[in-house]
């Protein structure tokens, strides 16, 4: 109960600071739109072609945007050393990660949902008829990206060359998420849509493993 209360208090803080600065959401939305629009200029895809490579493109755009969005989540705690204040005040350091994970996932999902209509129009792929299933895949994939990304952001924030370190560590780590999310999305956007529970289960397992690792070792990641 204390963990949930602390997480809720910190999540509220994350939302409030982001809504006032609008650093993460704005940058991420602009980045994803740019990638998807610029890529659409490079060829004129038919609907069949789009169904084949569209999901991969979409998830790559989400992945790069997430690596951009996750970078400041711990860096801005260093500006005034607020991370130290949080460590001293929070009864459970895991709550700091949970709140950041929840906020990052929410911001990423928001940008993904805003991105879907742009993708559907530019690549001529209808998504509306599979939206509930697609939302489920987006959620599982986004949690995967954010749970690993939040951990790596905590590590890289204390390192030299931190701007370079986060994508270098994160992108290879997220290869399984990229494959599973792309396959699950491709199956949903196929002519005969299908919700692939095997890939969804894989994503859920990935999320669970990283969440457990954060719970066990999170405090060490926050140490100086």
């Amino acid at each position: 109960m204390a963990l949930l209360q602390t997480t809720a208090t910190l999540f509220n803080k994350e939302l409030r600071t982001e809504l006032r600065s609008r650093e993460l959401i704005t940058t991420t939305i602009v980045f994803i739109v740019l990638v998807v629009v610029l890529f659409s200029f490079t060829f004129d895809p038919t609907s069949t072609e789009s169904r084949r490579f569209g999901p991969g493109l979409l998830w790559l755009a989400f992945l790069f945007a997430a690596s951009l969005m996750l970078q400041p989540c711990f860096l801005r705690e260093q500006l005034n050393d607020t991370l130290s204040a949080l460590r001293m005040a929070s009864p459970d350091p895991f709550a700091i990660f949970l709140a950041k994970l929840a906020a990052n996932t929410m911001f990423l999902l928001l940008t993904e949902l805003l991105m879907l209509p742009v993708f559907a129009v530019l690549y001529n792929v209808p998504v509306w008829h599979v939206l509930p299933s697609l939302a489920l895949v987006l959620f599982a994939g986004s949690v995967g990206i954010c749970v690993a990304g939040t951990a790596v952001a905590a590590i890289s924030a204390q390192a030299r060359m931190r701007e370079l370190l986060l994508p270098l560590l994160l992108l290879p780590l997220l290869t399984p998420v990229l494959i599973a999310s792309t396959e699950a999305t491709a199956a949903l956007l196929a002519e005969k849509p299908e919700l692939r529970l095997d890939w969804l289960g894989f994503l859920a397992a990935f999320d669970l493993v990283f969440l457990t690792a954060l719970w066990l070792f999170g405090e060490f990641l926050l140490e100086e």
Partner: protein, 233 residues
């Protein structure tokens, strides 16, 4: 608000901290009794900040031990009974003064968090600016709010790293009076100082660090003034 629980003493034994090849603290051993107010002096780079960050449980010593009360400093429970003022403000610029205090009060599980925040805003003279974002504050106002944040949960041990930074003369007087009051309430205080006789007057003991080693302790007979007098380099 009186101190939460019994005052906490501090005991370190052969404490060392190394950053790469640089030895920031060298085999430091001393004890601060519960309820004592100790001033920590030393040149820039003498190890005061490193020591205080270890004592706050934020940095792990390379070797040796530091206990607060009977517990190792790396325990979360003991860390929550410490109030810490560092060089940086430890405040969120994008939150208001009131939101900052409420955030930390709620994290620390203070029951009447709104009342406690209002009380501290009144004491720091920031009530009128309680709804202003911290980024609009002057350095002195930020420092007052930082001190208020450290006092929120009525800590049993206060660790202050140059708490007078940015404060004007009335601010220093306010801080000295506040420190005296918390000391009388039973709180143990360890503060690093550069000059500021008014704050030094609160101390019942002084320690001096030189190049990471404990160079002087007023409890061994030397006067507090002489221990605090840092020699010209």
């Amino acid at each position: 608000m009186t101190s939460t629980g019994a005052p906490l003493g501090l005991r370190c034994s052969n404490l060392e901290k190394r950053f790469g090849n640089f030895m920031a603290l060298r085999r430091i051993s001393f004890e601060i009794r519960a309820g004592e107010a100790v001033a920590l002096a030393g040149h820039n780079g003498s190890g005061k900040t490193t020591f205080l960050r270890i004592a706050a449980g934020l940095s792990r010593p390379t070797s040796g031990s530091l206990h607060v009360g009977s517990e190792d400093i790396l325990s979360t429970a003991v860390r929550m009974r410490i109030g810490f003022v560092a060089h940086q403000t430890m405040l969120y610029d994008e939150l208001t003064a009131e939101e900052n205090l409420l955030l930390f009060a709620r994290l620390q599980g203070i029951a009447a968090s709104a009342e406690r925040a209002a009380e501290l805003l009144r004491e720091t003279g920031l009530t009128e600016r309680r709804r202003s974002l911290v980024r609009t504050f002057s350095r002195g106002m930020r420092q007052r709010l930082t001190i208020a944040r450290a006092l929120l949960h009525a800590p049993s041990l206060l660790l202050f790293d140059e708490p007078g930074t940015g404060l004007d003369a009335p601010g220093i007087s306010w801080l000295a009076a506040t420190l005296l009051r918390v000391r009388q309430a039973g709180c143990t205080i360890l503060m690093s100082l550069h000059g500021q006789a008014e704050l030094a007057a609160v101390a019942s003991r002084a320690l001096r660090l030189e190049a990471g080693s404990l160079a002087a302790d007023s409890s061994s007979g030397e006067s507090i003034e002489s221990v605090l007098r840092v020699k010209e380099r």
